[in-house]
């Protein structure tokens, strides 16, 4: 009788059984059992157990050697089969690999884009400890990226967990050096603690002291080359805005492209109250100052946020709610008020990921579809292999490795394609992506995994399907695939559904863009030149300059203003007669304009009159938009008191116009006169010109501009370009979706083409007989296309609701939008139908025109 002490150790035996599963009948298990008993009797259980374990464990290397050897031998065989197969069916293999390669190329490009987008601001040391302080005032002011001028020092003083805080403020400045003058858009003021918070390497200069004195400035390498060439800029002075001299205290490396703000100049922050007279930092306004803090390592930002209400009460701003925005999240969480640059949106990342996934899936389905469809050609091989002794798992392994070989080949091709297409893709997504396949280990590994997964997915169904064949049936010549065509049809339907959703998406975006282009904005935007004004002295002479410009007959109108009609965003609250308490904090979009602004832009007056030279008191007057009047609730607004301190009079009412992009709803607007306050700067010169000889007119304007403002650079744009630019992201999205939907359709068509070829081939005899009986060519083309059109229609029906809901959501981001109309769906269906017919027709016509004698000869 056996006791538990007399049998071999269970775990060791289990390992042995696992190892010997490739041997027939577990020979050595028996041998070991037998000898174990001998040892047991001679030397006792302990020794025997030890002996058994040693035998098992020391057999492992031998086992591994043999598995790897056999694996390799079989793989060599599979590889040979694949290569033979590729050689024999060139067209099919081409379609297969091309589809996968294009799909993977798309996927890699999107992955590169996503990798880049996610890398924003991560280059700072301990970037996750850096936050920006945004605020909102409930019911009055939406989330605002800027914060109060005195906040940064108070934070450092009051909270030990705030290690350092830095303020930055973007200025637009004209920089003079010797006889160069350039408008610099990326001129920033930055606190001396800037380098404690951020990590921007310096080439020369001391980061501790470089920004501690007023009128010190750091410049980037790029700017060094632009202004100084080979000279050493340290210690030299730059003249800014023609009145302030800044001393250069250091050179910075160019900031990385994946930073949410990009500077060319960093001037010391304490200069701020020296460049603006009568300005002092306060808790009252933010003045577009941004505050960044570095918290203690791994400190929980929620903890700090909880302490803010009490902190704000101490400084008398309990109406404000602070929010800590993680630095690394700023780029992907949309643009809020006073953001430095237009940010991207995490939703685009999601959308693109889904698209990348779908495109790869479409490519996988191609391979799946074609290999199952063509199973007839491989069934004999499977049969023979099974007869020779292959088990089902061996066949599965064979087809899996085959499709992995295919996808690896596709990967190699797609790497080259990515290299080639990257510049074009970069201009499409407006980024500066780079692709260093071999220096990017993560990428290398990721792509390898991608290829394996793609191979695995695309090989899975064919492998299961082919391996299920019964050798006897196959070798007898029976076809045994029921159910496979249903699955194939499902795959085709899916491919069509995805493609059609993408087509619908593209069409809707283009429809909306067209709507934007053609919508009446409420003002003219054609033939209007905008010249940027930086020179403060122009304010004193602008009337003369206007008359001077008007000497040229090609110039129709000239207007000076602080704001452009499409960018009226400054919001102020006003006082007026009969104001109710709930209207006290009502915000109005405010623009300061001159007498000619309304006429030049064709804004429509519905009541009262325009600003006029004949009424000198007009510099206190204002013109309201209809919406503003409605909010205030006046029956007859003309002559009513209105102003920051109720000092002005309403003289006119204009029709509402789109003072911002169509993403936002029209708000109440107030036009004030530029002469109202002396410190109000003129920012723009708007000139309406005749369409003829535009270069000549521009040259004339430049000449006049230089007469009045000789030191400043002449920068001009056209109003319609500026309006178009507001929809840059939407335009890009349209283009990107266009490219992707085209790719998706192309890949799907490749598969369809292969499938059509296969069907036509398989039905050669049927077609022959039909033709002999009297079918016409068109009958047969219809017969062969019918199946595919049916699948396409099912795909279309599935795609419609998805496309409709997705695009409706996108349209919600516009305050003014078209609707997803029936036309879009009809157009999408027609497009899909056309592509199907074009793809299938070649094969069907070839089959239909073939001579039936050829196809029936062998019967």
């Amino acid at each position: 009788m056996k006791t538990h002490k007399e049998i071999p150790p269970g775990l060791a035996k289990w390992i042995l059984l696992r190892m010997s599963q490739y041997e027939d009948d577990f020979l050595c298990v028996g041998d070991l059992d037998e000898e174990f008993k001998e040892v047991l009797q001679e030397a006792g259980y302990r020794k025997a157990r030890f002996w058994y374990w040693a035998q098992v464990l020391r057999s492992v290397p031998a086992y591994l050697k043999i598995t790897i050897l056999w694996g390799f031998i079989m793989f060599k065989n599979y590889l040979k089969t694949v290569l033979r197969h590729v050689k024999r069916h060139k067209g099919y293999s081409f379609i297969n690999i091309a589809g996968l390669a294009i799909g993977m190329t798309c996927c890699i490009l999107i992955l590169l884009y996503i990798q880049y987008e996610l890398s924003y601001d991560k280059f700072h040391e301990d970037a996750h400890d850096i936050y920006r302080i945004a605020f909102k005032i409930p019911d009055r002011i939406d989330m605002n990226a800027s914060s109060f001028g005195l906040l940064a020092p108070a934070l450092v003083q009051d909270f030990p967990e705030v290690q350092s805080a830095a303020r930055i403020r973007k200025l637009q400045s004209t920089v003079f050096y010797k006889n160069h003058a350039f408008t610099e858009k990326n001129f920033f003021l930055a606190d001396s603690q800037f380098f404690d918070v951020f990590t921007f390497p310096m080439i020369s200069g001391d980061p501790e002291k470089a920004l501690s004195q007023p009128f010190s400035v750091l410049i980037t390498q790029e700017m060094t080359e632009k202004y100084f060439g080979d000279e050493d800029p340290i210690g030299k002075t730059l003249l800014v805005d023609n009145k302030h001299e800044y001393k250069i205290t250091g050179i910075l490396k160019n900031p990385p492209q994946n930073s949410h703000f990009k500077f060319d100049f960093l001037a010391s922050f304490i200069t701020i109250d020296k460049i603006w007279e009568d300005y002092s930092l306060s808790w009252m306004n933010t003045n577009r100052i941004l505050t960044y803090v570095r918290l203690q390592k791994d400190y929980d930002p929620d903890d700090l946020e909880r302490k803010f209400p009490e902190f704000l009460r101490r400084y008398g701003r309990e109406d404000v709610v602070f929010h800590l925005q993680p630095l690394t999240g700023i780029h992907l969480h949309g643009t809020i008020r006073n953001d430095i640059e237009a940010n991207s949106d995490i939703r685009y990342i999601y959308i693109f990921s889904v698209i990348a996934f779908l495109i790869v899936l479409i490519a996988c389905f191609n391979t799946m579809n074609l290999s199952t469809a063509r199973s007839v050609y491989r069934s004999k091989e499977v049969g023979v292999r099974k007869v020779v002794g292959a088990e089902r798992k061996h066949i599965i392994r064979q087809f899996m490795s085959e499709s992995i070989i295919f996808s690896l080949a596709a990967l190699v091709i797609s790497v080259f394609l990515v290299k080639m297409l990257l510049p074009a893709f970069n201009s499409l997504v407006d980024r500066n992506l780079s692709f260093n396949f071999f220096s990017n280990n993560e990428m290398l590994f990721g792509l390898f995994i991608l290829a394996i997964i793609v191979g695995f997915i695309s090989g899975s169904y064919p492998a299961l399907f082919l391996s299920s064949f019964h050798p006897v049936h196959i070798l007898k010549g029976m076809r045994a695939h029921k159910g496979s065509s249903a699955f194939r049809n499902f795959l085709v339907v899916f491919q069509f559904a995805v493609s059609i959703v993408l087509i619908i998406g593209t069409l809707v975006i283009y429809q909306q863009l067209h709507y934007i282009k053609t919508r009446d904005l409420g003002f003219h935007k054609e033939q209007i030149v905008i010249v940027d004004i930086k020179d403060e002295n122009l304010k004193n002479v602008y009337q003369t300059m206007r008359n001077d410009l008007k000497q040229n007959p090609r110039i129709i109108g000239v207007s000076f203003s602080c704001d452009l009609p499409n960018e009226i965003d400054a919001r102020n609250s006003f006082r007026w007669e009969g104001q109710t308490e709930e209207n006290r904090w009502q915000l109005f979009n405010t623009a300061a304009v001159d007498n000619e602004f309304i006429d030049l832009l064709g804004l429509e007056l519905t009541m009262g009159r325009n600003f006029s030279e004949e009424f000198p008191s007009d510099n206190q007057a204002c013109i309201l938009s209809e919406k503003a009047v409605r909010i205030i609730g006046w029956e007859n607004p003309i002559g009513k008191r209105f102003g920051y301190r109720k000092e002005g009079t309403v003289i006119g009412v204009i029709k509402d116009f789109h003072h911002l992009s169509l993403h936002s709803a029209i708000g109440p607007t107030v036009l004030l006169h530029v002469d109202k306050e002396t410190d109000l700067n003129l920012n723009y010169l708007l000139i309406e010109i005749n369409p003829g000889d535009i270069p000549g007119t521009l040259a004339f304007i430049k000449k006049k501009f230089k007469e009045y403002s000789p030191h400043y650079p002449f920068d001009f744009t056209f109003l319609d370009d500026r309006v178009d630019k507001m929809y840059r992201t939407d335009n890009k999205l349209g283009q990107i979706l266009n490219v992707f939907s085209f790719t998706a359709i192309f890949i799907a068509c490749l598969g369809l083409f292969g499938l059509a070829a296969f069907t036509a081939e398989r039905r050669t005899k049927e077609i022959g007989i039909r033709k002999v009986i009297g079918a016409t060519v068109s009958n047969i083309v219809f017969l062969l296309s019918r199946e595919f059109i049916k699948l396409m229609l099912i795909g279309f029906i599935l795609a419609c609701p998805i496309g409709y809901f997705a695009m409706n959501r996108w349209l919600q981001t516009f305050a003014y939008r078209t609707h997803v109309g029936v036309v879009v769906f009809i157009l999408a269906a027609l497009l899909a139908l056309l592509t199907v017919l074009l793809t299938v027709s070649y094969q069907s016509i070839k089959a239909a025109t073939a001579n039936p004698v050829d196809s029936l000869r062998y019967e």
Partner: protein, 108 residues
Amino acid sequence: MKELTLAEEILLTAIWRLNDNAYGVTIRKQVAEVTKKNVIYGTLYNSLDQLLRKGYVTKTRGKPVAERGGRSKMFYTLTSSGMQALQNARELQRRIWDGIPEFSENKS
């Protein structure tokens, strides 16, 4: 014909010696005795498989045995080409050592 490796020679002689009773356990013991080393089953079966593939031995399945947990023994026998290979090996040995006097006793 290729010469046998020493390992093959040892295995083949062991099987020859065991005659009718050459299966896993006995072969292992025989080899261990000759080489004075502990022989591992994993290696042993790999080598046996190789001999099988080279055609030096054949195997036949015996009856299931109770003390082996109901598993049968696999008996190995030399084929004629196995015999031939052994003979060649012996001939080679003879030629290698021919004319060399025995090592004197006191040397060891």
